[in-house]
């Protein structure tokens, strides 16, 4: 028998389980296994190993699902309680922005007036105007970041 046939057969035995093989390859392999006891042994060992792996029993800890369901329900309740606060924050932020847009011309006039009084350069006035606009978003972002940090600290489950 050609020695090159064995590596091909072994490759196909594994490939059949991993990716699948074509019908012609399957036919070739079946014919080869009928003639080659060594490769047939490899095929049997592979099948046995996989059968054992599939049928391996793992005992589940008692009450694991119930304990997990309880923890998940508690966390869900916590999240539900936090939800309205978060919504209120975004509503306030949106309202603040809307007011900001509506009053922008007046605010700019006020800043211009301050500029005339103090002689501050235009760049400083523009920066002040931009900051006034960004304050609601910065405030909301700071709250969200603080909230996330608090949550991460609460769930520092890795330390035992």
């Amino acid at each position: 028998m050609n020695e090159n046939l064995h590596p091909r057969a072994e490759k196909l035995i594994a490939q059949e389980h991993v990716e699948g093989i074509s019908q012609s390859e399957r036919n070739w392999l079946a014919a080869h296994l009928r003639e080659c006891p060594a490769c047939a042994q490899v095929a049997r060992q592979t099948n046995n190993a996989l059968r054992s792996l599939r049928g391996m029993p793992i005992p589940l800890p008692r009450g694991l699902a119930e304990r997990t369901q309880f923890r998940v329900q508690l966390r869900a309740q916590e999240l539900r309680e936090r939800e309205p606060k978060r919504r209120l924050l975004w509503i306030m932020c949106a309202m603040s922005w809307a007011l900001g847009i509506a009053t922008a011309p007046y605010v700019w006039q006020a800043i211009e007036w301050i500029g005339q009084r103090t002689g501050a350069p235009l760049l400083v006035l523009e920066f002040g105007f931009g900051l006034w606009w960004a304050i609601p978003a910065l405030f909301a972002a700071a709250i969200v970041v603080l909230e996330n940090v608090r949550q991460a600290n609460e769930r520092d489950w890795s330390g035992r």
Binding site: L53, R75, R80
Partner: protein, 187 residues
């Protein structure tokens, strides 16, 4: 199947408590088994099991239903274990100087057999159990995902966040290692 996944995604987005209870029941065995092979520790697997479901609750809106739910679930579990491993590695230097701290838990390196024996009882430590103990974690993981969980190659690639070629090569090597280990065990 696609419709089922979409419905599941909608339920997770709503944080439907009944759905979560049902999913925990349904996937308890498979998730615990996967975590057990990943961590080699029963206690860790239990902790990660609970934490995985908390993440499912919190990040349910990220599941879009395009892939099997279990692939997404296993990915969350895997990421938690990896995060924990990283954190432990960073803390290990502190542990050297802190007499109160016990020896840090060691996970198997890429090419070393894992301490799966922690999990298995002396009676059970025969046959396929003992063989798996001799296989590196990276191969054991793909074998479990492919042949126990029956995930597709692309789904496994999704769980591992690795290219398809890596998944295939790990599977081939893992299969060879398993066969070799079982042969060695039988000898």
């Amino acid at each position: 199947m696609a419709d089922d996944n979409k419905a599941l995604a909608q339920g997770l987005k709503r944080r439907d408590p009944d759905l979560l209870d049902q999913l925990i029941e349904q996937y308890q065995f498979r998730l615990f088994r996967y975590l057990l092979y990943l961590t080699s520790s029963r206690e860790r697997a239990e902790d990660f099991f609970q934490e995985t479901w908390i993440r499912v609750l919190e990040r349910g809106h990220q599941y879009d239903g395009k892939y099997k739910f279990e692939a997404w679930l296993f990915r969350i579990a895997r990421n938690l274990v990896i995060d924990w491993q990283r954190q432990k590695k960073m803390q290990s230097l502190d542990a050297l100087t802190d007499p109160e701290e016990g020896a840090p838990m060691e996970f198997a390196a890429e090419n070393q057999p894992s301490p799966l024996h922690q999990v298995l009882t002396a009676e059970a430590k025969t046959g396929v159990h003992a063989s798996l103990d001799r296989i590196p974690t990276v191969y054991r993981e793909v074998l479990v995902l492919r042949f126990q969980e029956e995930l597709g190659l692309e789904e496994i690639a999704g769980v591992l966040a690795a290219p398809l070629s890596t998944v295939k090569s790990r599977l081939y090597r893992g299969l060879e290692a398993l066969r070799g280990a079982m042969q060695g065990g039988a000898a």
